[in-house]
Symmetry: C2
């Protein structure tokens, strides 16, 4: 690290504020959420991501929803954010500006940037007879990683759970994602070591579902 | 196996029919579902089962439900079942009668016996933009195991998923339950080998949920 002399500018963060908020999505966020889902599939080397803007619209924005699914988006801007209902607002002082080459692709209708999202739905914890949440997806775009935004999204979901009297928030992590695993352990999450998850899809699901 | 002569009675199953059906629960089934949940906790050596009849009533039978949770019960009888809407009905020919010492404890309002249940709720498969189901609990009382009832409960859920156009049924299994694992592999379910599940509960959930 370079040493600083009194002549250097020591107001390190004035030019690198990042104004952030976590809020419920609007219909106009669908293209961003759709692209974030495909980016997440890429991150997981998954080739089976078939979600469309239309399927997101009908599952997230139809009233009543076919099944309850919640999304929170992470919105950022280098200028103060215009007033809007939010779950969390926080200003980050960054050592350097974020270099986001996709800022136009993930632009919101008010000119801010969508940097990530979390998608979750209610579960049922039968030993308590009470609901919980399962986080299906939590994703922050590469330019915005390691800045604390993942934690902010987690906090938003945990806060929602506590507010509603839900007893648990659960999620799954692929085991090569060591950074995520360490982060989740740091916030006090327990890993269910001796449980494995099964799934039935496609032909196996159809075949099992035949009654005769 | 003993050889049979023409003088032996070869109508082997007349006395051992077990009439079964899988159906939606009624309010009067709550005491049985409650006891089944506590039996399941016992099976898992879990000491934290706090579910009450009242919490089951408010989560399963309040309209609208706070969050969507489905239960199917497995009802059996040695006499033909009175007509009632059902998901599956099947008559089993058993080599011997079932010896159920708790038949009175798990008696339904029409005198049949509740032998098991499955509890599941909708999920959201974001790569497809479509819902699925997660089976939270599937339990058959000891006297009725290894007769095919677990498969019948699985089929009922898979059938419901297919009917609704859902793309997946998922569930977790504790790894010492080798019999269950083998059964799930037999019906074509895939195990998600490289994923682990985390959960945030109690103080860790409250702490994470604090925004300030």
């Amino acid at each position: 690290m370079a040493s600083m002399t009194p002549t250097e500018n020591t107001t390190k963060s004035d030019d690198h504020h990042l104004y952030t908020r976590i809020r419920a999505p609007k219909k106009s966020d669908i293209p961003s959420i759709h692209k974030l889902l495909h980016k997440m599939a890429e991150f997981h080397n998954a080739t089976n991501c078939q979600v469309t803007e239309s399927s997101l619209n009908s599952t997230l924005f139809t009233n009543p929803q076919p099944t309850p699914v919640n999304v929170f988006v992470l919105e950022v801007s280098s200028s103060p954010l215009p007033l809007h209902p939010s779950i969390i607002e926080k200003t980050f002082d960054l050592p350097r500006p974020v270099n986001d080459s996709e800022v136009l692709i993930f632009q919101s209708e008010i000119g801010t940037t969508i940097a990530g999202f979390v998608l979750f739905y209610p579960t049922y914890c039968s030993f308590f007879g009470k609901p919980g949440f399962r986080i299906q997806d939590l994703f922050v775009r590469e330019s915005y990683r390691s800045l604390g935004f993942g934690e902010l999204l987690m906090k938003a979901v945990a806060n929602e759970a506590v507010k509603l009297g839900y007893v648990k928030v659960e999620w799954s992590v692929v085991d090569w994602n060591v950074g995520a695993t360490k982060f989740y352990e740091k916030i006090g999450a327990c890993v269910l070591e001796d449980w494995k998850t099964f799934e039935l899809t496609n032909d196996a699901l159809f075949s099992c579902g035949k009654l005769h």
